[in-house]
Every structure is written in structure tokens, then in C-alpha cells.
Amino acid sequence: MTSTQTTMGAATPTTKTRKRQPSREGQPQKAGWFARIVVFILCFLWIVPVIGLFLTSFRPRDDANESGWWTLFWTPSAWSRMSFDNYETAIDQGGLGQAFVNSLAITLPATFIPILVAAFAAYAFAFMEFPGRNFLFLAVVSLLVVPNYIAFVPILRIYGDLQIAGTFPAVWLAHIGFGMSLAIYILRNYMATLPRSVIESAKIDGASHFQTFFRLVLPMSLPALAAFAIFQFLWVWNDLLVALIFVGPGDNAPITVALRNNLMGQAGSGQHLITAGGFLSMVLPIAVFLVMQRFFVRGLTAGAVKG
């Protein structure tokens, strides 16, 4: 396996073959004041709304709804009134605790189940010769841009007939279907960059396709599997539309739906609860994102387009 280690590090699959020249380290043009100021202003604009949300979410009801969060910076006494009360209220009365669990229950199967299915198809596209291969793969490429809106009316009807609308399996299966083209695309592109000699020699040693897939190709494709998993995780966790259509409000609603319906949609809930709920909804994806950023970037540069 040692010979494969290097390829696992190299990220970008074939579709993006750009001549990898030595990167431009040791820039001739050093950062001027202009560059520093523009970057600083952009970062400031990008992060300030999030800071505002974070601070507001700890402020008591009256503070949060009657004065801007920025007043904290010149009224030190207001800091002492901050607490986790809003979070407790949002979790219990706002139903976000239950919804957070629902989101996990929806996201985990919808993220992990499609991986193996897509990996088998990707393996066939990358390493097997068969009539119609190019056509079938081009079909996957074109399905990437098809908006999932096209599925809603007919699938809703089928779910209605089967009486599974509003259940977890309904939304699992939908996300698996919608994520499949992206999964095949990312994995196949990555597998196409794996050294063919390794797969050939496995074949000569008498390994079947099945063995080659599980013992060689799947472990070697780990970076691409991770890239897709993060994509799908963020996509499913942050999804509102599919959840509204196939789950809807109620006991099984994920956090996006609950946040919208229980807090943002209620005139009485106030900024202190909305911000606490908002922050709850983004804690996990932000954590996953920060920890796995490297894989995520790799997935992006693999040419991920999702319809």
C-alpha cells in the first residue's frame, strides 16, 4: 500500500487537471496597505453579523429586544445579566431540543447510506469497461444540475399513497436520491486518479472486482468519501425545503423547520429566543466544518456542482 500513500494526499481529480506549477510563494508583490485594508473590511463585514447573533443570544428578553447588542460595548453592567436562559427556553418551550435530535436522526442515515451505493457505481465507471459506460456517466453529470424541485410533486403523491409522508424514511430516501449524482460524480472522479497499476496488479494476483473494491479502492478513496460525507451532512442538516415538503412541522421536524415555525414565525418569540435558536441550529455544522475544512475544500475543488 505504500505506493498509494502519495496519491491519497494529492487532492484534485482529473476533471480539474491544471498544470501544477510551483506555487507562488515568496510573492514579489508584498501585501500593500490596500490589500490589508480591503481584506480587513470584508472580514469585519462578514463576521460582525455572527458576533451580533452570538451576543444577543445570551441577553435577557428586555435587553435583547429594547437595545442593540452593540450597546454592550459601552454598558458594562449589561454583561452581568447575560445567561443561558434563552437557550433553555428555546430548547424546552421552543421545541428545539427535540428538533436537534430529529435533525441528527435525519442527517446521519441520509449521509452514510448513499456512500457505499455511490462508491460501487463509481468503481464500475472508473475501472470496468462496458457498453454504454460513457452515456450512463454523462447522464449522471447532467443530473447534477437538475433541480430537485422536479421530484416534489410526484414523490409527495407516492408518499401519500404509501402513507409514509412525515416519517424519517421518507426524507432519508429523498436525500439519498438527491445526493446520489453528486456522490457518484465526486467518487468516480477521484477513483479515476488512483494509480491503475495497483488495480491491475490486484487483478493479476487473482483478486475479483468485489475484493479489489473493498480491500483496495474503498480505503484508497477515503479522502473523497470524507469530502462527499461533509457535503451531504451540511446539505441535509441545513436543508429547509425537502424537510418542509416531506416531513413538515410536528414531532419529526428537523431544527431548520422548528426554528422557522416555532420561533421566527411567531411574532411573540422575540430576538433573544430567535438568536439562541439560530445559534443552536448552526453549532454542529460549524463545528464539523471547522474540523473537516480541509476535506470540504477538497470536495469543492473536485468540481462539486449540485442541482
Partner: protein, 327 residues
């Protein structure tokens, strides 16, 4: 609660396990066939489950949606082109289309420009600052649009004159002596739509920056050196040497964002639900389906959306073939 998590974990286990067994069976099935057939059929067996998912969730519904678009609200009788003519003739749907086109015209281009600016400028900072600034710009990608709605609610919040403003934008302009404005209600020049677009820009710029940054770093140093020796200034180098070499990535970012913008739903639904003339076709689809219970109109909107994506699809396929033949 715990039961649900347990249930989800069991589903992951059972789902993955079932997939393994399914492929093992398919593989065995191929192996019992006579040699020639085994090699011939095995690839199809491997792609079969994935294709079943694609066909059931995308291909079949696409056809069915076209069919429904020619039927009435309950899909019980044919109405011909009625759904289309009624939609296209209604002035509110025309506004909805116009808004969607406005989003398509503004957001992808701005995403490219901002992302490229960040990519080029951050590239010149020292590594620590480059990474920190990029992470900050990239971070909103992890946040849902509902979450973004809670964030931007604090920017656009409006309180009538005389009360203390808790929205940042109104706090600034009242401090400057102007009257507070209900930003998301101002439909003159579609100003409110532009405020909603800001939210998408905030979420998307990181994606653009990451792709374009990789492209900019991939521009060979000797081409820049050659231009410098020829006496080109930095601006000329950027536009005549760097930009042409990263054009492929620029197009990728543009197309990806364009597809996202065409089906934008969450931001509009959460912030205004299409009120004050901010409606877009994604939101209109949802309202036709769940407020009016009109399957026919909803399907017709989807068909229009699908038609609009066909040129992009053709472009994608051609682009992919070209890149494959070069590889």
C-alpha cells in the same frame, strides 16, 4: 429522544449492512452466470442500485411533473396549457419571474467578483492572516439559510421611529439623523430583493473564494515573470495574464452559483415569504403546492425552471467531455 438517535444509528448500521449484502448478492449472482455473461453483466449490477435511486427520485418524477403540469390542481383532469397561460399572464408571476432574473443577473457575477478579490488579496497576506481571513469568509457556508435569517434579522430589523433600533442598519442611519426604514418592505427599485441577495452573497462568497484561490495559486510564476519583464503593470498582469488562465474556474463558480440562485427558496421564504414584491419562483412553487394545493401550477413552475436549466446542463456535459478528452 434517545430512542430517535438510537434508531438513526441502527438505521445507519442496517442501511450500510443491507447495502453490503445487496452487493454481495448481486456479485454472487453475476458469478454463477457463465464466464462471458459474468464480465458483461457485473458492471451493470454494480451501478444498478445507484441508478435505481436516480431514476426513482429524478428521472421518473421529471417525466411525471411534465405530465402534471398539463393537469388541474388535483391532477384529476387535463387542462392543456392552462397552467402555463394563467401563470405567464398573471402580473404577480411576471414580477416573480423578473425578481428571479434579477437574482440571476446580480448574485453570480457579484459572487465571482467578491470571491476573486478575496482570493487575490488574501494571497498576498502572510499565511496566518491568509488562513484566518479565508476561514472567516468561508464560515457562512456552513450556516443554513434559516440560520442566516436569524443572523440577518438583526441587521434589517425595524422599529418605528422613536423606539430604540435593534437592527444594525437602522441604528446606523438613525444615528446619522435619518428616519428608520423597514428595509425588507421597500420595493422601490427592488431594494428589498437586493437586501435578500446580500444574504446569499454572504453565504456564497467563501465558496467562490476557495475555488478561485486554488486557481490563482496555480497560475505559473514564469508567465507572470515574463509579463513583468515586458514591463506590464500589476493591473495589466492581472487582467491579461492571470484572468485568462483562471477563466475555467471563474465559469465553474459562475455556473454553480447560477444554478443555486435559480432555485433559491429558503432566504425568501424565511425573510419575507415573497411579500413586498420579493417573490421568486422557488417560493412561488412552494406556495402553489402547500398554500394553494395546486399541483398543476406547481408542476408548471418546475417545468419552466427545468427548461431554464437545460442550457446549463448542455454546457456541463460538453465541458465534461472536453475535459475528459484532454485528461
Amino acid at each position: 429522544m434517545l430512542l430517535k438517535i438510537l434508531n438513526a444509528l441502527i438505521t445507519v448500521g442496517v442501511g450500510v449492512g443491507a447495502a453490503v449484502i445487496l452487493y454481495w448478492l448481486l456479485n454472487k449472482l453475476a458469478e454463477v452466470l457463465p464466464g462471458r455473461w459474468e464480465d458483461r453483466l457485473k458492471p451493470y449490477f454494480y451501478i444498478l442500485p445507484a441508478y435505481a435511486a436516480l431514476v426513482f427520485y429524478l428521472v421518473y418524477p421529471a417525466v411525471q411533473t411534465v405530465v402534471y403540469s398539463f393537469a388541474n390542481a388535483q391532477s384529476t383532469a387535463w387542462v392543456g396549457l392552462d397552467n402555463y397561460t394563467r401563470l405567464l399572464q398573471s402580473s404577480s408571476f411576471q414580477d416573480t419571474l423578473f425578481n428571479t432574473l434579477l437574482w440571476m443577473a446580480v448574485v453570480p457575477a457579484m459572487t465571482v467578483v467578491l470571491g476573486l478579490a478575496m482570493a487575490v488579496l488574501a494571497d498576498r497576506l502572510n499565511p496566518t492572516w491568509e488562513n484566518t481571513s479565508k476561514t472567516i469568509i468561508f464560515l457562512p457556508m456552513a450556516i443554513s439559510f434559516v440560520g442566516a435569517g436569524t443572523v440577518w434579522g438583526l441587521i434589517y430589523n425595524y422599529r418605528p421611529e422613536g423606539r430604540e433600533q435593534i437592527g444594525l442598519q437602522n441604528a446606523i442611519i438613525t444615528a446619522l439623523g435619518f428616519d428608520p426604514v423597514a428595509w425588507l418592505q421597500v420595493s422601490d427599485f427592488r431594494l428589498n430583493s437586493f437586501f435578500l441577495m446580500m444574504m446569499l452573497l454572504w453565504a456564497q462568497t467563501g465558496f467562490s473564494m476557495v475555488l478561485l484561490s486554488a486557481a490563482v495559486k496555480g497560475v505559473p510564476e514564469d508567465t507572470l515573470e515574463a509579463a513583468r519583464i515586458d514591463g506590464a503593470n500589476e493591473r495589466a498582469i492581472f487582467f491579461q495574464v492571470v484572468v485568462p488562465q483562471i477563466w475555467g474556474s471563474v465559469i465553474t463558480v459562475y455556473v454553480t452559483t447560477l444554478i443555486g440562485v435559480m432555485k433559491i427558496f429558503d432566504i425568501v421564504y424565511v425573510m419575507t415569504n415573497g411579500g413586498a414584491n420579493t417573490n421568486v419562483i422557488g417560493n412561488e412553487f412552494f406556495n402553489q403546492l402547500f398554500t394553494n394545493f395546486n399541483n398543476g401550477a406547481a408542476a408548471a413552475i418546475v417545468v419552466l425552471l427545468m427548461l431554464a436549466t437545460i442550457p446549463i446542463m448542455v454546457y456541463q456535459v460538453r465541458n465534461f467531455r472536453r475535459e475528459e478528452s484532454m485528461a
